[in-house]
């Protein structure tokens, strides 16, 4: 049996959230974000507008960032929001979630809490029933609490 060295003990005790999160994680990049967007749009043009992404400019803890996305849409059979995608440029995976709507939804709006690995730009992409894509983007500074204990 391998004896515990001082180093492994310290590593074990100090496997803080920050350290633990870093292990085995490939850093996403703006390229990964752009690739995720391109996969969703199939190369279609993206227009700014119609989407409102509300997210704190400074998030006190990246483990839970309150986020609201709303899209201006009549939500009729002929003209509605099919999906809202949230895309990160710094998380290990670019697409954080996809929410799908139907004309029956009547309101294209949702709120949830995101995990953000670090300060970054967050993209909200709305996919409409006519095949068009609309976007809003916000910069978020992610800070860290004064006292972290490894949870």
């Amino acid at each position: 049996m391998k004896t515990l060295t001082r180093r492994t003990l310290i590593l074990g005790a100090g496997a803080s959230a920050a350290t633990a999160l870093l292990i085995g994680r490939a850093a996403a990049t703006t390229q990964a974000r752009d690739a995720a967007v391109a996969e969703l749009t199939g190369g279609a043009a993206i227009k700014d507008g119609r989407v409102r992404l509300t997210i704190p400019a400074v998030a006190e803890n990246g483990l839970s960032v309150y986020t609201t996305i709303a899209v201006d849409s009549p939500m009729t059979e002929a003209d509605h929001v099919r999906a809202i995608h949230i895309i990160s440029e710094k998380n290990p995976i670019a697409r954080l979630f996809t929410a799908r709507f139907s004309p029956r939804s009547r309101v294209a709006k949702l709120s949830t809490n995101l995990r953000l690995a670090s300060s970054q730009q967050v993209t909200a992409l709305a996919e409409m029933s006519d095949g068009s894509f609309w976007r809003d983007r916000k910069d978020v500074i992610v800070t860290i609490a004064a006292c972290i204990d490894g949870g």
């Binding site: 483990l63 995976i93 697409r95 979630f97 799908r100 029956r104 809490n113």
Partner: protein, 109 residues
């Protein structure tokens, strides 16, 4: 983690045409798969991968989640009250286990 502890907060009654906000929470760690335990062993990914809501049997909201959504997922969305009908909320984890909450919305003219 098995799915057993879910909460749905919404009004029980509304006038036809009113917008109803629905807020949901479910107990789940949303384990990322990137962390290690105190002995350095990787903790496997374990997430709620899907949430859906139906109203009078028709889908009104669906969400595909990843580990980019915070632990104990909070999801809020809105519907317009049209009929007195049941709403069914379903969460599904990666093992295919589900939690289901049912609520009836009473709609008056």
């Amino acid at each position: 983690m098995a799915l057993s502890n879910a909460r749905v907060s919404m009004r029980d009654a509304a006038k036809k045409g009113e917008i109803i906000e629905i807020k949901t929470l479910i107990r789940h760690p949303m384990e990322t798969g990137y962390r290690v335990d105190h002995m350095g062993k990787p903790i496997p990914r374990d997430i709620v991968k899907r949430f859906s809501a139906t109203y009078a049997g028709e889908p009104v909201f669906e969400m595909d989640l990843t580990q980019g959504v915070a632990a104990n997922p909070f999801i809020a969305f809105s519907i317009v009250a049209t009929d007195t009908a049941e709403m069914v909320f379903t969460w599904e984890n990666e093992a295919g286990e589900t939690a289901v909450v049912r609520r009836t919305l009473t709609v008056t003219e």
